[in-house]
């Protein structure tokens, strides 16, 4: 492990990732300070999820550097990677709850399996975390399949914050939810992140969500960061890609590939 600059919680430099001949990330540079909430926006298929999966260590980049707390993480060995994972929590787009386990076992999973906590103590923590996301103890014994999409998202959020990680990644946290439930999830994200002083990295194409949870926004297009800055400046970024994206216009520099039938 190589020591890099410890100033930023997450520092990504020159990150490249391809699938076959398709270059998804093309020398991405981005950073995130401690306790900061960074939101990465961009259209579908621009590499947002790939970027986050590379930072978390679920995908291995071909080139570039990813430093967490100034420590290089690309190429970490398995044991060191498992140790590093204890700093992370992640909310997946489809919630990714374990079907075979009850709600409380899902929330407590990282505590029991990852950190060796006793089942009874972990259950108490899980019920407290479920309460933090607005779910009562009666939900704890249900299976994920018995919950609505919004409730599953809340359980997934409770699971992500259960072990009180230093960094939480949110992958499309409001996709597939109605506007009210989306706002509930946004409020919970802001509350959970702010209260614990956690560093948060979210990816979304929902601008309402981005404006609500972000301290800083970065836009990814064709595998590169084309703009980044404070949330307050996004409406006067002067960047044609950002302007087209935040206003949801079909005309502009971003051309969607639509094949004729």
């Amino acid at each position: 492990m190589t020591n890099i600059s410890p100033a930023q919680k997450i520092s990504v430099r020159g990150l490249c990732k391809s699938f076959g001949r398709n270059r998804v990330l093309d020398s991405v540079d981005i950073g995130c300070g401690s306790g900061e909430s960074l939101v990465i926006i961009g259209g579908s298929g621009t590499g947002k999820s790939v970027l986050v999966k590379c930072i978390v260590g679920l995908l291995r980049p071909e080139a570039g550097s990813i430093a967490i707390d100034g420590i290089e993480t690309v190429g970490l060995r398995r044991a060191a990677r498992e140790q590093l994972m204890q700093k992370f929590g992640m909310l997946f787009q489809g919630s990714a709850l374990f079907d075979s386990l009850s709600v409380w076992e899902n929330v407590a999973f990282g505590l029991i399996q990852g950190r060796g906590m006793g089942r009874q103590a972990a259950r108490e923590v899980a019920i407290a975390k479920l309460a933090a996301v607005g779910l009562g103890p009666e939900v704890s014994l249900l299976r994920p399949a018995e919950l609505s999409g919004g409730m599953q998202k809340r359980v997934a959020l409770a699971r992500a914050i259960a072990a009180e990680p230093e960094i939480i990644f949110f992958d499309e946290p409001t996709t597939g939810l109605d506007p009210i439930m989306a706002d509930v999830i946004n409020n919970l994200i802001v509350k959970c992140v702010r209260e614990a002083g956690t560093t948060a990295v979210s990816i979304t194409h929902d601008m309402v969500s981005a404006r609500k949870v972000a301290d800083r926004i970065a836009m990814l297009h064709q595998g590169r960061i084309v703009w980044h800055g404070p949330t307050a400046q996004i409406d006067r970024s002067g960047n044609p890609y950002v302007d087209q994206f935040i206003h949801g216009r079909a005309d502009g520099p971003i051309q969607m590939k639509v094949r004729a039938a």
Binding site: E82, G110, R159
Partner: protein, 258 residues
């Protein structure tokens, strides 16, 4: 001609790559057995899944196999006035071959398919990535317990299948073919050696490993939503069934060829 050779070469290279990938997967999963954490609850759950819940299907298959075997061998041997060998043929066939092979194939259909579907669904719904982010190695948590459960449980299942299969032969022999019960039992025990049962149990352990490995491997690398999971399930059953038959021949040759 060149195109044909290129196709043969590509298929061969693909076979080698697949074999290498499977060996690497098995090696990495087994390597996790040598360091904590261990998941005894998960192993126990998988043993119940593989063993206890397969008992009805394996038991039914075994009893009818034993019954058919007694009938067929009787009709064959009666042409040479060798009906007395029916009990011996039934017990040797069941313990050496039919018990382990039929149990292996049944478990491949029931458990291998379920493993591929479960792990495949976990893959396409990001649950395996979620395990990783919760500081849990998916190979250690999902794959190793299934491999161990397969190796431990299938021999137990085969032992039960052996008893039920021999009992099926006994039922037909005594109640349909008119054998004296004591004579049939004597014929069963007289020529049965320890190696007949042990070789069947060793085969069962290997088949258990194959079924679990193919189910986990196909599920773990499944791609492309529901269609991918369906494909993984089919591949898991087909590949496990073929491997069981191939390995059965190799093990039989190793045990009984002099």
């Amino acid at each position: 001609m060149l195109r044909f050779l290129a196709a043969v070469g590509a298929a061969f290279l693909s076979f080698l790559a697949g074999t290498g990938s499977l060996a690497l997967f098995a090696g990495m999963a087994l390597a996790t057995a040598f360091s904590p954490p261990f998941y005894p609850r998960v192993i126990l759950r998988e043993m119940v899944n593989i063993g206890y819940f397969s008992l009805p299907v394996v038991g039914l298959t075994a009893i009818f196999t034993g019954m058919v075997l007694a009938l067929q061998s009787y009709t064959g041997f009666s042409r040479f006035s060798a009906e007395g060998a029916v009990a011996t043929v039934v017990v040797l066939s069941v313990t050496r071959e039919l018990g382990p092979v039929i149990s292996g194939l049944m478990v491949a259909g029931r458990v291998g398919a379920a493993m591929a579907a479960e792990i495949g669904t976990m893959r396409v719904t990001d649950q395996i990535d979620a395990l990783t982010t919760l500081s849990t190695d998916p190979l250690r948590y999902l794959v190793l317990p299934r491999l161990l459960a397969g190796v431990i449980t299938l021999p137990m299942l085969v032992l039960v299948a052996d008893v039920i299969g021999v009992f099926g032969g006994y039922l037909v022999g005594v109640y349909k073919l008119g054998f004296n019960p004591q004579a049939y039992l004597n014929g069963t025990w007289q020529h049965l050696e320890r190696v007949d049962v042990v070789s069947g149990l060793v085969k069962a352990a290997v088949f258990g490993f194959i079924v679990a490995l193919m189910g986990c491997y196909q599920g773990y690398y499944s791609r492309g939503g529901a269609e991918g999971v369906g494909r993984a399930t089919t591949y898991a059953v087909v590949s496990a069934s073929i491997l069981i038959l191939v390995v059965d021949y190799l093990l039989t040759a190793a045990f009984f060829t002099r």
